[in-house]
């Protein structure tokens, strides 16, 4: 059973059955955009989207997550002793996650699940989640996933891949988790889909015309790129709003903060951003990335150079295009990537000319 077909008439029934054993998340329309949400019983995911405004990373890595709790009541036996919160690890599934966002989860996992340290809250959430992808037949002009080792039919990080057809979904079962999910839904009509998929995949990939070059990034000298002349120019219009890092499915930086209500308190993991001055401000007032140019450079250097050097799995960007379409001043990672990729080669070319 590699492919099953799901008659759209059986879709709602299957989801209703699934909701007995899974918490379902799916895209939903809010005003004029889409976002992922926890689906109520009987609620359908709305697949009429190209991609959501925010990535689904919050389902695994909430914008604000309580991880530790404690009592400050001196009369309590365990006062001031910090205890880990048991976060919800019941099975959940993300319906209709795009292949780019699924690959992004794999990249973020490199940060949270390492040989030396594991973030237990992330690892538990990831284990509990089934990724039900939705192939992307109508990519946007800002998409460039085919350049990033991903693609509109990419299977990495997915348990099931759904391909929408007129009256049915074709589901490609990719993992045991995916198989268990399909079985739990009662979707068991095996079919043959490979040929169909190949043709549709080729059509979808051909629609993605934006591309970036990154073949030189690895060999560029880190300090040369850091000292490159183009950073001021790129950063000129940036207002350090943090939209790019907030919407990005691969950005993982966070803050730890305590909050106290009466005599009980909690410690939270909150999303943070390298675009904010407080991110790096020392108590002495010294700030190693005190200017917006330094902060913008950090974002791009991290994604396109430090990450490339550290993990050797390509860039820390899946080409979803969110930062490109939502940056208020149109800073475009595709242009920055090209500038970084071609840095010395361009300069050498100029030198030869004069």
């Amino acid at each position: 059973m590699t492919f099953v077909k799901i008659d759209k008439k059986q879709w709602a029934q299957g989801l209703a059955t699934l909701q007995k054993s899974y918490r379902l998340f799916g895209p939903s329309k809010e005003k004029d955009y889409y976002n992922y949400k926890a689906l109520d019983v009987g609620e359908q995911p709305d697949f009429g989207f190209s991609n959501t405004r925010l990535s689904p990373k919050a389902i695994l890595f909430p914008q604000s997550e309580t991880i530790i709790e404690f009592s400050l009541d001196e009369n309590a036996a365990d006062h001031h002793i910090m205890k880990s919160i048991e976060t919800d690890s019941s099975p959940r599934a993300i319906l209709g996650i795009r292949p780019c966002d699924a690959k992004a989860v794999r990249l973020v996992n490199l940060n949270f699940d390492t040989p030396e340290y594991q973030d237990p809250y992330w690892v538990k959430a990831l284990d509990a989640t089934t990724f039900v992808g939705l192939a992307c037949d109508d990519p946007k002009s800002t998409c460039f996933c085919t350049s990033t080792g991903c693609g509109p039919y990419n299977e990495e990080g997915l348990d099931l891949l759904l391909i929408e057809e007129d009256a049915q979904y074709l589901a490609k079962v990719l993992t045991d988790k995916g198989r268990a999910f399909a079985e739990a839904a009662g979707w068991n009509t095996a079919t043959d889909g490979e040929a169909d998929i190949d043709a549709r995949k080729a059509t979808a990939e051909a629609k993605i015309t934006a591309s970036v070059s990154m073949e030189n990034l690895k060999n560029q000298d880190l300090m040369d790129l850091h000292g490159a002349s183009f950073w001021e120019d790129i950063a000129f219009a940036c207002i350090n709003c943090g939209t790019c890092t907030f919407t990005c499915p691969t950005c993982w930086c966070f803050d730890l903060q305590d909050e106290v209500h009466g005599k009980t308190g909690k410690r939270m993991k909150n999303w943070d951003s390298c675009m904010f001055p407080l991110f790096t401000l020392h108590t002495t007032g010294h700030n190693p990335r005190g200017t917006k140019t330094q902060r913008l450079r950090q974002r791009f250097m991290h994604k396109l150079k430090y990450f490339v050097d550290k993990y050797d799995t390509g860039i820390m960007c899946v080409g979803c295009g969110r930062c490109v379409s939502q940056c208020p001043v149109n800073i475009d990672i595709r242009r920055v990537c090209d500038l970084m990729n071609n840095y010395k080669t361009d300069e050498a070319a100029c030198t030869v000319q004069d």
């Binding site: 002793i81 390492t114 340290y117 594991q118 973030d119 880190l222 850091h226 966070f254 990450f307 550290k310």
Partner: protein, 280 residues
């Protein structure tokens, strides 16, 4: 799965005012749960997150030494929210300790070598840990000559004064204490750390390593002195500071290039530092 966010519960066992201006205090902690001290096994040069529930966490170098058992010590400068709160806490109070974190001075590499330690101001905490470690009868023979240049503004601003005086009297460690200006009863060097280093420190060679910790201004003027004395950049070892939260390489804020100060550091050689952006 171990939870790296969860601190070990500890009790404040002792608080000592460490400098005459009371801006530094040394806190001695004992672990509440049996077995936690063993899990906290550390090396000289590492740091920990002192975790005050409801207030926050701060990365602080471990000032006690792996050869001292039954407690851990930290010397904390009153600087901002968490450090000020800590300064107001009392013996017996319960809080948390996370770690040990980061790398340490490269003790394997340093075996059989001469060691020069240069410290300034209150950045002497992990240097104290290191000296106690090297002077331990089990360890002393593993190292060559040990020279220590340590400077502060006034005699009263030197940390761990009783120990410094005791080390002065030993013949297996060469102490070069200094203060900025002459003071009554002061019988050691007078002058800033860099010139005293220039006069007193041994020449650099393949078998001699320098460990340098201090305020940025001291570092700035000490490095050229060490170069002049013949210390190669990969024989100069430093400990960096950056704002930190997690301390184990996940929250992303302490990066200098692809290195994270909390996990790949805080200890780096000058050679390594020269190959990373100056974002500390």
């Amino acid at each position: 799965m171990l939870n790296p966010y969860l601190p070990y519960p500890v009790r404040i066992d002792d608080i000592e005012i460490a400098t005459e201006d009371k801006s530094l205090k040394t806190f001695k902690f004992v672990f509440l749960n049996p077995g936690d001290e063993e899990k906290f096994a550390y090396n000289a040069g590492q740091f920990a997150e002192l975790s005050v529930p409801g207030v926050g966490e701060i990365p602080i170098g471990i000032a006690s030494s792996p050869v001292e058992k039954g407690f851990v010590k930290f010397t904390v400068f009153r600087a901002g929210v968490v450090t000020s709160h800590l300064h107001n806490m009392k013996v017996g109070d319960i809080m948390g300790l996370r770690g040990p974190l980061g790398n340490w001075y490269p003790w394997d590499l340093l075996e059989g070598k001469n060691i020069l330690i240069v410290g300034g101001g209150f950045a002497f905490t992990t240097l104290r840990s290191s000296i106690i470690y090297m002077l331990d009868p089990e360890n002393r023979s593993r190292f060559g000559n040990i020279d220590v240049v340590y400077g502060a503004r006034t005699p009263g601003m030197l940390l761990y004064k009783d120990e410094l005086v005791a080390w002065e009297k030993r013949d297996d460690i060469n102490m070069h204490l200094t203060i900025d200006a002459p003071a009554d009863g002061w019988e050691y060097n007078v002058g800033f750390t860099p010139p005293v280093t220039e006069q007193k420190a041994p020449q650099g060679d393949d078998a001699t390593y320098a460990i340098v910790c201090g305020p940025p201004i001291m570092i700035k003027f000490t490095l050229p002195v060490l170069e002049k004395l013949g210390y190669a950049h990969d024989h100069i070892i430093m400990s960096l500071e950056n704002r930190m939260k997690c301390g184990f390489g996940m929250c992303g804020r302490c990066g200098i290039g692809k290195e994270l100060v909390c996990k790949d550091g805080p200890v780096f050689t000058l050679d390594q530092i020269n190959k990373t952006p100056k974002e500390y």
